[in-house]
């Protein structure tokens, strides 16, 4: 009994914790009359994939999906590019103000979005980047950079300097050593960092909401977040969008659980 009890409790609690999401999943397969039925039911024979098709047809979710993919992919590439150069500097060089720079990146990670949003909005508008993918990509890149640098810094530092020294003796320059020796060795870590960055941009809501305004540039979270106020009668289509939108994060998490958890702990304990 004493052995069974925790397992039993755990099973119940897990089910309770998944309840809000399961309810959305159930709704995403129901036709509208079933969604607006009182009292509500979990399953009905008329469940189908129709809400998923409707969502793409009646709501601008195909555009949102394209925007989300463009923004998250570009932000990931830019973040990784700038981030690995910076992380390489922190991991392998001694220079003046090194501590100050590290602290700067650490502090920007704490910076509330709300305390930069107004001037950022004005800046992007003045530069003609308001309501463009490019503008949002720039902002996401900057927001993701501190954490990316911090993760990569850890991965680079774990590679012994001897490997790199050998390359330098063979006549490589420092940058060639980065490209030919460090980057290939750190590839698994870089892959994990890329996933973090991608998800960070994919799930981001605040900046995406305020810095875009047209259907052509809005990302999926903005679509869902705004429609919740406007289209409350099509809960099934909204639920379908929410479920579909959650699949990439869930797949990535399942595939990379261990690294994810380590990165999670690392992010908190810097």
């Amino acid at each position: 009994m004493t052995k069974r009890l925790p397992v039993f409790l755990l099973a119940i609690l897990t089910l309770v914790m998944l309840l809000p999401f399961l309810w959305t999943v159930a709704t995403s397969f129901k036709p509208l009359p079933e969604v607006n039925r009182y009292p509500p039911v979990w399953v009905s024979p008329s469940m189908s994939l129709q809400p998923y098709a409707d969502m793409f047809f009646y709501l601008p979710f195909s555009r949102y999906t394209a925007s989300s993919l463009i923004v998250a992919t570009s932000a990931t590439v830019l973040t990784l590019g700038a981030g690995s150069l910076a992380a390489f500097a922190f991991a392998r060089f001694r220079f003046r103000w090194k501590k100050a720079f590290l602290l700067l990146f650490l502090l920007t990670q704490m910076l509330p979005g709300a305390s930069v949003i107004v001037p950022l909005f004005q800046l992007l508008r003045a530069a003609g980047l308001y309501d463009t993918h490019a503008g949002l990509i720039l902002v996401h890149t900057a927001v993701l950079l501190p954490f990316t640098i911090w993760l990569l810094h850890g991965f680079f530092s774990a590679i012994p300097t001897e490997v790199e020294d050998a390359a330098l003796i063979d006549g490589c320059s420092r940058l060639e050593a980065l490209r030919r020796v460090i980057l290939p060795l750190a590839l698994p870590g870089i892959g994990a960092t890329a996933l973090f960055a991608f998800l960070g941009s994919w799930n981001e809501f605040f900046f995406a909401l305020i810095l875009t305004t047209s259907d052509a540039t809005r990302t999926i979270p903005v679509g869902i977040g705004l429609f919740v106020g406007e289209f409350e009668d099509v809960w099934n289509q909204m639920a379908a969008a929410a479920v579909l939108f959650s699949i990439p994060p869930l797949l990535l998490f399942a595939a990379m659980r261990k690294t994810f958890v380590r990165g999670l702990a690392a992010g908190a304990l810097q």
Binding site: P6, L10, M17, L18, P20, F21, W23, T24, T27, N36, R37, Y38, P40, A82, L85, A86, A89, F95, K98, F101, L104, F105, T108, M110, L111, P112, G113, A114, V116, I117, V118, P119, L120, F121, Q122, L123, L138, V139, T141, A142, V143, L145, I149, N203, F205, F206, P221, I224, G225, V228, M238, S246, P249, L250, F253, R257, L264, A265, A268, L269
Partner: protein, 289 residues
């Protein structure tokens, strides 16, 4: 060249950070002491008038109280839940434990917008499953509105926030539990300590460092959180769940008073600097210990 190489390597990252974070923050300080509106841009300097407007605003104090309650309440709920689940997971030797940990992490992995949406639909007055069950059990009347009632709205958003944050606490607590040396428990068992006594004398003290980190991080993140409240209630009904980040948007992009919005965002920044300082001190203390 050799000397400047590290700075060159840092340059791209610094440029991004400077343009998107440092410059706006500085600009915000400037904006906060002048009249700015969305159409005409920056106007006259007006000293501390924007700050006076913020502090004279009833809505600000309400939002401040709500934000503090939301951050503290949501975080404490999440920590309690995370600790309970971590303890259960730690006891479970079943092969499925990693899989269950994975399932339990779902609220943290999905987008905050989806989390907010799921809760809003769960709590829906007529067609949500929660009301169906509660009214079937005779606990509340049918059609009870949770998010439309000023007395319950903030509490619901807090619960949703706790739901989103508990997996993080759970994973951190689990790591903390695993790092407690088994000898401590063995020694206590030899001395005949009860399970409760072992929990109080060994488990809890060992989890203290991770708890303080989690508490502060949870408060910092929730203090900054815009998404959950915006998606679930937009700060309503009648400001009952209004929090500071949502209020910044309200001042700046709904009332178009960018000066007042800037002043408020500087106030938020000041609070965050205090909290971050505290957090860094706690971390430094950990490293020394």
């Amino acid at each position: 060249m050799r000397r400047s190489l590290p700075y060159l390597l840092l340059a791209p990252a610094l440029l991004f950070t400077a343009f998107v974070l440092c410059y706006p923050l500085a600009q915000n300080l400037v904006n906060s002491v002048r009249e700015v509106d969305l159409v005409h841009g920056p106007g006259r300097w007006n000293g501390l008038a924007n700050y006076r407007h913020v502090f004279a605003d009833r809505e600000f104090w309400l939002a401040l109280r709500n934000t503090a309650g939301y951050a503290l309440g949501g975080t404490l709920m999440a920590l309690g839940l995370g600790l309970a689940l971590a303890l259960l997971l730690d006891r479970t030797t079943a092969h499925s434990a990693p899989f269950v940990t994975c399932l339990l992490s779902l609220p943290w992995v999905i987008s905050p917008v989806v989390a907010g949406f799921a809760w809003k639909w769960l709590l829906n007055d007529h067609f949500g499953i929660l009301n169906a069950w509660l009214s079937a059990a005779g606990i509340v009347g049918p059609g009870t509105s949770w998010l439309g009632n000023p007395r319950t709205a903030l509490l619901c958003v807090m619960a949703a926030r706790a739901w989103q944050f508990y997996p993080f606490a759970m994973v951190m607590f689990l790591a903390g539990l695993e790092s407690i040396p088994a000898e401590q428990y063995e020694a206590a068992s030899v001395d005949g300590a009860s399970a409760l006594r072992r929990f109080l004398a060994i488990t809890l003290p060992n989890l203290r460092p991770v708890s303080s980190v989690l508490l502060l991080l949870g408060i910092i993140w929730s203090f900054n959180d815009f998404t959950m409240v915006f998606v679930m209630t937009r700060g309503g009904p009648i400001d009952a769940s209004m929090v500071l980040p949502v209020l910044v948007r309200e001042f700046s992009f709904v009332h178009f008073d960018l000066g007042k919005g800037s002043a408020l965002s500087i106030v938020i920044f000041a609070v965050l600097v205090l909290l971050s300082g505290l957090y860094l001190r706690v971390l430094a203390g950990r490293e020394r210990a």
